[in-house]
Subunit: 121 residues, 2 copies
Amino acid sequence: MSKIKETSTNFANKQALADECPEAYAANIIGGQWALVICSWLFNGKLRFGELRKLLPNITERMLTLQLRKLEEYKIVKRTVYAEVPPRVEYELTAIGYELKPIIKQLEEWGAKHRELSGES
Amino acid sequence: MSKIKETSTNFANKQALADECPEAYAANIIGGQWALVICSWLFNGKLRFGELRKLLPNITERMLTLQLRKLEEYKIVKRTVYAEVPPRVEYELTAIGYELKPIIKQLEEWGAKHRELSGES
DNA sequence: TCATTTACTTACATTTTTTATAGTACCTTA
DNA sequence: TAAGGTACTATAAAAAATGTAAGTAAATGA
């Protein structure tokens, strides 16, 4: 787990910003490299660790683990472990996680539009 | 300007993700530590460099410059330099930049709600 | 006994982002 | 002549994020 240095200026700045600005608070949570994309896939329903890995071809197991752990910590996803061998672990969005759907959808639309504009100029 | 190493795996991953997922594309653009907050302030109208610096008490001049340059590069903000001494530079959102407003507003609402949930449990 | 499967974990290396500190140019005003 | 204000730039360092490679446990089937 990537430990954050709680004495760093960066940590203090993030805290202060998040305290004042809910959008910065939100960005800290969903801001990793893969978090939004993981959520996007989970909007369609539960997925196993291995399934997610296949859907995100370039992600390493380490990064997938880290991102899922972070999302779990913030209660965006729920992790269910089945006592089987080989192990089976399923990930699904929580209620608050699912509420990201319209936001991500809008972000997608904005991104597509922005790319179009940039491509033309 | 922070140069990106175009031979790194990280660069390739970001590219590939952004190509396929508009939300990842968007996240790359507005994903910096201060970008969203800068945009938030600019929704209310033009601001000078020094005004932004005062509104973001902990930001360094370097970071503010970097973030503004990035936002300018992606046509989110427009930079206007007045040929005066001492210099005056104004920043304002472009049309596509302004279209982030509803998204950021929703993010704020989501963030506030998430924080509330986390505080209670 | 041995390989197989799955979801990790660990140690380490590299890359990217953020912070720190000290400058600079320019004209105006004192 | 000197100080002051504005929006920066240069350089270095610290911190954070991401990537690489290898290893682990535990039951099952061969």
